[in-house]
Amino acid sequence: MSTPAPLPPPPEPVTPWAGRLVLGVVLALFGVGWLLESLSVDVPWDVVFPAVLIGIGMMLVVSARSGAGQVGLILAGIVLTVLLVLGTAIDIPFGGGVGDRSVHPMGVRVEREYERGIGTLTLDLTDLDLDAIEVPFDLRARVGIGELVVIVPEGAAVRVEAHAGLGSVRVDGMEEAGIDAELSVSAPGAAPRLRLEASVGIGEVRIERV
């Protein structure tokens, strides 16, 4: 009597948990980042998003043989790629945080860059000591989606370059609107002591003189 032929080895178990694992880790990371932002900790989203995309790509390459859990990863990768392309197109500062923010630098204590991801950023420069700062001082203010309001002292030697990827810019009574709207205004006469670059991805830039 012949013995039955040995059964073929069972197929390698697929790993459907791989996709869920990555998705879970990604969601948890975003949650941690959001929580840190809420606690006023600056999270470098500018770097986090591309890093997550690279992680998704590596996970896909590694799990290419397992045959499962990849649809979710591919969809997540596509969504992230589209977001990053949009962010590059309209210059959205992912690291700027969400919500309204008002900044009022005094004297010479001023940073060179202020930014907001989504929301309103109000930058009041009326108490900036333009006679004491290093001139010409280059200052950049950016908002991804929302409104950027910069208040400059009347009569100050300020050159403004305002840009909106999609939206409007208003400077000294002039207004431009649409795609890639921009206005460049220099104070007449004296050389500019402050060179201000104000931009939004989607929304409005408003320069007010008081």
């Binding site: 770097v47 995309l53 998704i56 790509g57 896909l60 990863l73």
Partner: protein, 62 residues
């Protein structure tokens, strides 16, 4: 010789995402100033090639 257990679509997508992520990372770090006029078409071309390659790989042999 092709490996029947290998999901070529996932492999191509993975390589694409790694390359795209690296480009965006360099751009965000200020190492490479990427213009959308170049990046957009390049990404579309790459994505199209990736989809074609993935489709060819998953087509059953005649």
């Amino acid at each position: 010789m092709s490996d029947p257990g290998l999901n070529r679509s996932a492999l191509v997508a993975g390589v694409f995402f790694i390359a795209a992520g690296a480009v965006f990372l360099l751009e965000r770090l200020g190492v490479w100033d990427v213009s959308l006029r170049v990046l957009g078409p390049v990404l579309l071309i790459t994505l199209g090639i990736a989809i074609i390659l993935g489709g060819r790989a998953s087509r059953p042999p005649p």
